[in-house]
């Protein structure tokens, strides 16, 4: 079960070449794909449908509702033979997912914000019991005050739950990552739950043109689930046993190793998916880092804005770059370091406040990545977009201006910048 440590060779860092989102892979016979117009939510529901999910247990919550609604339509129309469980809360939704997953089923669910918070307890059971559940999290602000719009406070609040956490930039990536998520989660070398995060409204409700694979290609890519173990009356097992001080720690150490090793599978599946579709995935995607002095790193939908502004600035001769992190947990420390080590300054975009912490959650991870490396990259932390506050190109432009200044002067003015907040 536990393999020798893989070599981290910087694989999984995918540079943008040219303007398009596709990556040409030499010698790959890319499958036929249909152009379609889907919102992020519809793209996720469609992907789950093509993945032949056995059980969906979910509870609707804005802005995720449409995922569950679409999927329940597929069930009602007889387009899938999925067992759809309409439960009374997200706590029950995730509990049912855990049960079904332990029974050997391919399981999907989705939630957002307060729903994820209500699931929090059961998220740890899903990872601790090694259930390869796939969940779409449509990132939304947490109460109070009540707000239904996008930010990433929900997943950041549950970031230590032991799940693999992927972030999508748009509808296409939401679709692609959902299909990959099942293959990653269910691999016998992983056996862990995966969350696919998409920004509330910006991705979940915006209709975009994208490409979808044919059902048979998805089926070929993702064969029926085979489980290492399952709850089955013919071969009884006990799950959820107690482990007191003399054993608990060993189980947690084992779980951490599994999560860290899962990154090899994330990259492998991203490569395989790239061979099938021409869209290669990995841990992170870089733009302009070959010669950049200053760069901006972000998660989710903001990455598109950042890249667009970087492109404009590069056309004016500014040495800037952009980094999109697809995989947040496990954190791709080595690969990220190899990508950013030659920068002079890096702005880290956090769409959540880590209350009382020295900086935002992503920024803490970047700081830890640079720890003991001797690196002198200036780090600027930007908190932005809380509760769905818009993040226009003009704001990103000021981020690049500040980062370029830090790169030039070697000085960082503010420890944390709260972008576009009224003073």
């Amino acid at each position: 079960m536990y393999r020798k440590k893989g070599k981290f060779t910087g694989e999984g860092v995918i540079p943008y070449s040219g303007e398009g989102s596709t990556v040409t892979i030499e010698g790959a016979a890319v499958c036929t794909q249909t152009g379609c117009a889907y919102t992020g939510n519809e793209a996720v529901a469609y992907a789950a449908k093509q993945c032949n999910v056995d059980v969906v247990s979910a509870y609707p919550i804005t802005p995720q509702t449409i995922i569950v609604e679409r999927f329940s339509e597929y069930v009602a129309n007889g387009e899938v033979d999925t067992k759809f469980l309409a439960v009374e809360s997200e706590h029950s939704a995730m509990s049912a997912c855990v049960g079904a997953s332990l029974g050997g089923a391919r399981v999907f669910t989705s939630t957002a914000s307060q729903g994820l918070a209500l699931m929090h307890e059961v998220l740890y059971l899903a990872s601790g019991l090694r259930c390869p559940i796939v969940m779409a999290v449509v990132n939304r602000a947490l109460s109070a005050p009540i707000n239904i719009h996008g930010d990433q406070s929900d997943m950041m609040g549950s970031r230590d739950c032991g799940w693999i956490q992927l972030f999508a930039e748009n509808a296409q990536e939401s679709y692609d990552l959902t299909i990959q998520a099942f293959k990653i989660a269910e691999d016998k070398g992983v056996h862990l739950p995966v969350s696919v995060n998409l920004d509330g409204f910006t991705v979940s409700h915006a209709t975009e043109s994208m490409k979808a694979c044919a059902d048979e290609d998805v089926h070929k890519f993702l064969p029926p689930r085979e489980s290492l173990f399952k709850v089955d009356p013919t071969t009884p097992i006990s799950v959820g046993g107690m482990a007191l001080p003399e054993y608990y720690y060993e189980f947690k150490r084992q779980q951490e190793e599994a999560l860290q090793l899962s990154k090899l599978f994330v990259n492998r599946v991203g490569k395989e998916y790239g061979k099938m579709t021409g869209r290669r995935y990995g841990y992170l995607r870089t733009y302009g880092l070959e010669d950049a002095d200053a760069a901006v790193i972000s998660l989710g939908s903001t990455c598109g804005n950042v890249r667009s502004v970087a492109r404009t600035l590069r056309a004016k001769g500014k040495k800037v770059g952009a980094i999109k992190l697809w995989m947040y947990r496990p954190f791709p420390r080595e690969e990220l370091f190899s990508a950013i080590k030659d920068l002079k300054a890096l702005a880290v975009m956090d769409r959540a406040i880590s209350f009382g912490a020295p900086q935002g959650a992503l920024c803490s991870d970047i700081a830890a990545t640079l720890l003991n490396t001797g690196s002198d990259i200036k780090i600027l932390n930007m908190i932005y977009g809380l509760g769905g506050r818009d993040i226009p190109p003009s704001t990103i432009n000021t981020v690049f201006t500040d980062t370029l200044r830090a790169a030039k002067t070697g000085k960082v003015k503010e420890r944390i910048n709260y972008l576009d907040v009224r003073e």
């Binding site: 090694r130 046993g241 779980q255």
Partner: protein
């Protein structure tokens, strides 16, 4: 005492693939007070056998016997015994 297994050797997720393995885990050492039966007073009413949550009261041909391998010393049997045939004694 043999060395306990390291994290690489434990079954993943803590799933137990061998039924009845809890028999190997003796909970007797948890006990602070030990139930002691006075067979002369015992009326064989079996209330202790019904109430014992473990269950660590075994039925025998001539009444009951306390299984000290698993009895955690909760004292329910002593509390329920209508004739005070069981008393709790500090270990």
């Amino acid at each position: 005492m043999t060395q306990k297994p390291g994290w690489r050797e434990l079954p993943i997720g803590g799933h137990l693939h061998e039924p009845g393995s809890s028999l190997k885990y003796k909970t007797g050492p948890w006990r602070t007070y030990k139930p002691v039966l006075d067979k002369a007073k015992c009326t064989k009413c079996l209330l202790c056998w019904i109430y014992c949550p473990e269950p660590s009261i075994d039925r025998t041909n001539d009444g009951i016997e306390i299984n000290y391998d698993f009895c955690k010393g909760c004292g329910l049997c002593a509390s329920e015994c209508p004739v005070k045939a069981i008393v709790m004694v500090e270990e």
